[in-house]
């Protein structure tokens, strides 16, 4: 694939006497949402070698002669799905395409998402068709610690071509979805869930202490332990702990754990966040909110479509997710989810920011994606109208200057 791309760029370059490569593209927009700055009417974005080289009014930015040029009514940065299981969970929903959860043990932070990610999964192509260019995906919210997550572009034929953050977070879950039921099964209660997590972190801390004491002395080093190593990454704040918690008491438990072990926490789901807004704000924690169209039952019985607006009003940083679905639809689409929040008090601008720049910030990749700024990746979504309107189509998706999806969807 890389070879093919290289040859292609060479060919195009020769044909156009040297100046342009395959990852060069220009996009004109009647309304250009840069997200980092003001909306530009009649805007142009230039992408050279996959990176944005110019953004501005059509009158200010000249499109180089011969450069492939797309046009649309509305153009936004490529959308970011801040939490998904797509690529590990496949669309057929059969045992052979479901790798988001291994039920052998409640705590398995050593499970790497890169070892399970299927870059050719049809759901990835599906999301790309709506303008989603980046997904944060991996092990699902189905175990106390189900494993690692990754961040990938929705292109590429292999994990290496797609993934740009191999271990983004470690996924933990409190509440019903990670509870085991029946005699002899554990964790069976909320108290036990937190106790098991504390024990795991204490064990990792002990391992960390031994490693530090050993220093460079190989003879004194403890035996390698993949589980402890993964949690040490959390304890040393290299990797955040993503905690899915819907009930307010579970959200509080996650905040308490983060205080005890001083890890970087990202709250996920958080359907009752509106009950504990002050607590979340005081902790400086970001939220990857549940899909506004998630089913309002079970632990989400108190979920509200007004939550995103309340998070915004409280000054919290938040993003949207497609989330985990066990049945139909097998994945949600963040464009659709943000639309519902937008129409229920959040407003279009804040909703768009939540699926672009704020998602990038929460994922720690805003230096590279999330807005249309010179130097960032040339990831763009093109629409024939208001992106959030039900009847609008995504007409094209561009990733790093390459047109990866076209045709109205």
């Amino acid at each position: 694939m890389k070879l093919v791309r290289g040859l292609l760029s060479l060919g195009v370059g020769l044909a156009l006497s040297g100046a342009l490569v395959a990852q060069d593209i220009a996009v004109r927009a009647q309304r250009l949402h840069t997200v980092s700055g003001a909306v530009i009417e009649n805007g142009v974005v230039l992408v050279r070698s996959g990176k944005i080289s110019a953004v501005g009014r059509a009158s200010e930015v000249q499109i180089p002669s011969g450069m492939r040029t797309l046009a649309a009514a509305v153009v936004t940065p490529g959308l970011i799905d801040a939490h998904s299981v797509v690529g590990l969970a496949g669309y057929l929903n059969q045992p052979q395409d479901q790798d988001q959860h291994d039920p052998a043990a409640p705590i398995q932070p050593e499970l790497r998402a890169i070892d399970a990610y299927n870059a050719r999964e049809r759901l990835i192509e599906w999301l790309r068709g709506f303008g989603v260019t980046t997904i944060h995906t991996g092990h699902g919210p189905l175990a106390l610690i189900s494993g690692q997550t990754l961040i990938a572009k929705t292109r590429g034929d292999t994990v290496d071509e797609s993934v740009f953050v191999p271990c983004a977070m470690i996924a933990a879950t409190l509440g019903a979805d990670s509870r085991a039921e029946g005699p002899g099964k554990s964790p069976g209660t909320a108290g036990k869930q937190v106790a098991l997590l504390r024990e795991a972190f204490l064990a990792a801390r002990e391992h960390q202490r031994k490693l530090r004491e050993a220093g460079d002395d190989a003879a004194k080093k403890p035996e390698r332990n993949l589980r402890h190593e993964a949690l040490i990454d959390v304890l040393e704040r290299r990797v955040p702990l993503l905690v899915t918690a819907q009930r307010h008491q579970d959200i509080s438990s996650a905040l308490r754990l983060a205080r005890e072990f001083d890890f970087a926490l990202v709250l996920d789901g958080a359907s009752e966040a509106y009950v504990v807004l002050d607590e979340i704000k005081a902790a400086g924690v970001s939220v990857i909110a549940h899909p506004p169209m998630a089913r309002f039952g079970g632990e989400l019985e108190n979920a509200s479509r007004a939550t995103p607006k309340k998070l915004a009003d409280a000054g919290l940083r938040f993003a949207f997710q497609s989330g985990y679905e066990s049945y139909v639809p097998k994945t949600r689409v963040v464009l659709y989810e943000a639309a519902i929040a937008a129409a229920n008090g959040l407003g279009a601008d804040a909703a768009l920011r939540a699926i672009t720049l704020d998602a990038a910030r929460i994922l720690g990749v805003d230096a590279r994606i999330g807005s249309l700024e010179v130097g960032k990746d040339g990831d763009l979504a093109l629409y024939d109208g208001d992106p959030f309107e039900y009847t609008t189509h995504c007409t094209a998706t561009v990733i790093e200057g390459v047109l990866v999806s076209e045709g109205a969807r």
């Binding site: 059969q94 108190n302 097998k330």
Partner: protein, 439 residues
């Protein structure tokens, strides 16, 4: 067989006369863009309702308001018929159990929790009539119930009635993968069809015995609830509502329907686009599901939202409806399903008909609901704007002339938005009647 033109064997009885005293006075809704569905949109329209029925619909200039009418200004709003959901699972009811794959004697009437929060959410979504069904885990999971979404807390008062006074509903059937399980359930598609055929043959035999008895009680076969249910299907009284997704499963339904002559509405029909010619030429009604992503199960892997448009192209627009399958699609998002079909190529007119008059026809209720016409039930919704826009909200839902949902009412708003306590089942008729009386 042309199913669409089948003579209506069944005419639904009116619901018991609405009781609210408030409705004795006519209500006139004035100034909205009115979408009667039965006719062209009316700018600056008027809708007059009284005693649960529609008295008049038309342009402001053409409708004389009754002198005692309470005038309600709805300028800037859109007013259209209440939505009809042909396929819902709200109410938490289960029909048949795991003892057998075919249980036509089981009734949803006996299973629905009419105080379920889902019914309140359906009101918030503009749904005024629902076909509440049991699941698709059986070849035949029982008798469905057609429900008027009123706040009365009594399923008997909520259900529509057949002419004989019995609670009105269809028969839920399924084929494909959901109903294939370990014995006594079928393990294959062939076995599924064979079991269904055996059941209908048994019903035909039962019918013969009944006829042979010629009214002589001593010769009558013993009563059999399951066979009685099947006879109501064979006679055309009870429409089959058939879960089916894959193209070959869809054609199997048509084959069985033709063999036994039962009336059928195809439900979900994920692969309708593959067999749109066959569906259109046989004039079979289709209640389509719209999901955000194909897959999630094998038989939905080729779901395509273009199905409605493909049927429309073949002249089958009047045969298209949508449904929520709540809890697959939340009842509050029913309008969205039609909008997504428009995104996939369906005309706006058909999309609106597919939420109102077309599904009403599928439930044999189009003489009472589905359009805004004089004499029909006063079931309608007030919208803040274009019904197919994400930015539009259902502002009020009226059922039989009573306001059952008001977005401006804090208690009702809880059903629309969700929030603390929104998951708790209750019924407005008991908790909030005072708020709902029209003055």
């Amino acid at each position: 067989m042309n199913r669409a033109s089948l003579p209506l064997l069944v005419v639904a009885l009116s619901l018991s006369t609405p009781t609210s005293k408030a409705q004795d006075k006519p209500l006139a809704f004035v100034g909205a863009r009115v979408l009667p569905i039965a006719s062209a949109p009316i700018e600056d329209g008027v809708l007059v309702v009284q005693r649960g029925r529609i008295e008049a619909v038309g342009a402001r200039a053409s409708v004389a308001l009754p002198v005692d009418a309470v005038v309600i200004d709805v300028k800037g709003k859109v007013l259209m018929p209440g939505l009809v959901d042909t396929h819902s699972h709200v109410g938490g009811g289960w029909g048949a159990d795991g003892s057998a794959p075919i249980q036509p004697g089981v009734r949803m009437l006996d299973a629905v929790d009419c105080r379920d929060a889902g019914l309140q959410r359906a009101q918030a979504g503009g749904i005024t009539t629902l076909n509440i069904m049991s699941g698709s885990g059986h070849l035949m999971s029982g008798q469905t119930i057609y429900v008027k979404n009123r706040d009365v807390g009594d399923i008997e008062q909520m259900c529509y009635r057949f002419v004989d006074g019995a609670p009105m509903g269809g028969m839920k059937m399924a084929n494909g993968t959901n109903s294939q399980q370990d014995p006594p359930f079928p393990g294959t598609r062939g076995k599924s069809a064979a079991l269904v055929r055996e059941s209908f043959v048994a019903a035909q035999e039962y019918q013969r015995k009944l006829e042979a008895a010629a009214g002589d009680a001593s010769k009558l076969p013993p009563r059999d609830l399951a066979l009685e249910g099947l006879l109501e299907v064979l006679s055309g009284k009870r429409v089959v509502h058939h879960h089916t997704h894959r193209h070959d499963d869809i054609l199997t339904v048509l084959r069985l329907s033709n063999e036994f002559g039962f009336r059928v509405v195809l439900h979900h029909v994920s692969e309708a686009w593959k067999v749109a010619d066959e569906i259109a030429s046989e004039q079979v009604p289709c209640s389509l599901i719209v999901i955000d992503t194909p897959g999630g199960k094998l038989e939905a892997m080729d779901f395509d939202a273009r199905s409605a448009a493909e049927l429309e192209k073949r002249g089958a627009a009047s045969l298209v409806a949508f449904h929520t399958d709540d809890w697959i699609t939340d009842s509050r998002l029913f309008l969205r399903s039609a909008a997504l079909a428009v995104r996939a190529g369906l005309s706006r007119d058909t999309a609106l008909a597919a939420l109102t008059v077309n599904p009403a026809r599928m439930l044999d209720l189009s003489d009472k609901i589905g359009t805004l016409e004089r004499g029909k039930d006063a079931d309608f919704i007030v919208l803040s704007g274009d019904p197919l826009s994400v930015w539009t909200h259902v502002e009020a839902t009226w059922v039989a002339g009573e306001k059952v949902f008001d977005r401006a009412n804090e208690k009702d708003r809880l059903w629309a938005d969700g929030g603390w306590g929104a998951g708790q089942d209750r019924v407005g008729g008991l908790c909030c009647l005072g708020d709902r009386e029209v003055r």
